[in-house]
């Protein structure tokens, strides 16, 4: 399965936008938090888990999705939210804790919900799996060909919720794709010290579904694996498990001292940056011009800049707004 030129440009846009978003957020987040890092200070509240490096997992999968397909993401959700088409202004305002945010500032960076594009995420490891399985069940009961994608980190593949959801999705032949973003580290714990198998895709065998491993953070290979999985799910042939070997350039959270990670690891990873590789591929082999790529990049960056400006200019919620929306 080869992406069309339009699909390549779409993925490039989604990845470049996500990267620029995270790099912008990394700076914005540190405002008021340096030189001495204080997690409770500055205009961007709370914890911050950035996804730079993991863009192929988002773009290579979501390029196959429609608005009516569901995505459930992790505590590191921005790249996936961007690829799924979550409203960038409202998402950024939410992360700034503003009234104009997706949830009026109640949820924040780990709890982004945009029902307009069927996107949700959770700060609890493994808790993407059950809800995506349920979205798949709903599609089946409603007689549509919509699918659901659950994103998980490789650490989440050791949670009970993950295994139970795989079994249920396979047992009921639900249109669900489980995408493991293997960024090698569960906070400070390397995959080799947390996981009894080197490759989580083999775990699919235990649940009677296809398992695909994508090496080297390869956007085109993610595109191919996800394309087949989404087609299979739309046909009613059931779930697929995909594990993507990916990287995270930033720490687990901003402020992470990263004492556990070799100092030169990130430099090595950046030398094989997936966005650079995709750009080279589409220019060298798919007839995309430098100008087209540059135009996509500058548009993506302008959109991100506008979203941050929107967030900064938005009002804080009133304190007593905290009491609203506990019940439907």
């Amino acid at each position: 399965m080869e992406p069309t030129k339009n699909q390549l440009l779409w993925m490039y846009d989604a990845m470049a936008k996500a990267r620029y978003y995270e790099d912008t957020m990394a700076k914005a987040y540190m405002e008021g938090k340096s030189p001495k890092f204080d997690i409770g200070a500055g205009p961007v509240p709370g914890e911050m888990h950035l996804s730079a490096g993991q863009e192929p997992c988002a773009a290579g999968v979501c390029v196959h999705l429609r608005f009516d397909d569901t995505v459930t993401a992790t505590h590191r959700p921005h790249h996936v939210a961007i690829a799924k088409g979550v409203d960038l202004n409202k998402m950024t305002a939410e992360i700034y804790g503003k009234r104009s945010g997706l949830a009026g500032g109640r949820g924040g960076h780990m709890h982004l919900f945009d029902p307009a594009v069927n996107f949700a995420c959770s700060g609890i490891i493994g808790e993407s799996a059950g809800p995506a399985t349920g979205a798949g069940l709903a599609a089946k009961l409603q007689g549509t060909d919509a699918v659901a994608v659950a994103y998980l980190g490789e650490g989440a593949a050791n949670q009970g919720a993950f295994h139970e959801a795989l079994n249920l999705a396979s047992l009921w032949q639900l249109p669900v794709i489980f995408v493991i973003e293997d960024n090698a580290w569960g906070i400070s714990v390397p995959k080799s010290k947390s996981t009894a198998v080197p490759d989580n895709s083999v775990r699919a065998q235990g649940y009677n579904m296809p398992g695909v491993h994508v090496a080297d953070n390869d956007t085109l290979k993610v595109f191919e694996a996800a394309g087949e999985a989404v087609e299979r799910a739309r046909r009613g042939d059931g779930p697929t498990l995909i594990e993507v070997q990916t990287y995270r350039y930033y720490g687990h959270f901003q402020g992470d001292p990263e004492v556990y990670r070799p100092k030169d690891e990130v430099a090595h990873l950046k030398a094989r940056d997936p966005i650079d590789r995709l750009r080279k591929h589409m220019i060298d082999q798919a007839g995309v011009t430098e100008a087209e790529a540059d135009e996509a990049l500058s548009q993506a960056q302008a959109e991100v800049d506008a979203a941050f400006e929107f967030a900064r200019q938005s009002d804080d919620p009133a304190p007593e707004d905290a009491l609203e929306h506990v019940f439907a």
């Binding site: 409770g40 509240p45 949830a103 924040g108 700060g123 989440a156 400070s188 947390s194 804080d316």
Partner: protein, 340 residues
Amino acid sequence: MPNNRVLTGSRAMVEAIAQEMRADPKVFVMGEDVGPYGGIFSSTTGLLDEFGEERVRDTPISETAFIGAGVGAAMAGMRPIVELMFVDFFGVCMDAIYNLAAKNTYFSGGNCKVPMVLMTATGGGYNDAGQHSQTLHATFAHLPGMKVVAPSNAYDAKGLMTSAIRDDSPVLYMFHKGLQGLAWMAAPEEASTEVPEDAYSIPFGEAKVVREGRDVTIVAISMTVHHARAAAEALAAEGVDAEVIDLRSLVPLDREAVLKSVRKTGRLVVADEDYRNFGLTAEVIASVVETDPGLLRSPPRRVAFPDIPIPYSRPMEQFALPDADKIRAAVQQTLGKAAA
């Protein structure tokens, strides 16, 4: 006190664990990021270097398995200290906690014991939103079979940890992130205290009178002790003499200490960062009115987190969190004054 130093909450906790590990080879630690990282909230800093990977074990993100394994290891003669990184994560593993750890002693007619410490980080105030900021004292204190402690300062952190490790029952050790003295999170100055180098224990169920007073009793625990103390200082300037009690443990609960104080003051405010309804604040008030409804000269007041998920945005979180001003206003209500 030549061998006393001022320690942070986290260093005091770690010292207790290290001393017990030196004294008793049955004690070991496991949890997520407790090894090279030293615990996300510095609850295990340095333990890996001294005791090695066999006794300080990083786990997969598999709380059901490793807390269940803690129960099994405890029943098989070990004394595990297991960390649940954030108390909010109990949702994925509660069965191992409340159906196994808490009940196996009873189900065996006392023939089995589960000497396990489950240590876990609580509390908000740094905008981490509703899945990483809860306190949940009452969730655990409600369920029989576990002892539940929540230190407010470094001295108690060490003594209560030592007692927890030596206890033959499962102990939930709930430490507030904002009292750990982390470099990257603000903490009240009084949370760091002088701590003796030698090992010592603090019996569970003994509250501490933090400040003596005649006019009103403020009962608090963990972070709210600091708010209560600040409120008492502000009230003193207004001529109100407040007594502040740090419960230190929820199970067992030192109801006698509360009663003794209320017999003197006749007025009661209870402060807790946990959700208000069905919580510690109600339990403390019930202890008083069940004993003698005539002890109180005015209706008691509760200062707790309103019954909403913890909001992310700073103005909304601060609106909801207990603080010194809210406690002071509650005290003024018990005195029949409008809040200033």
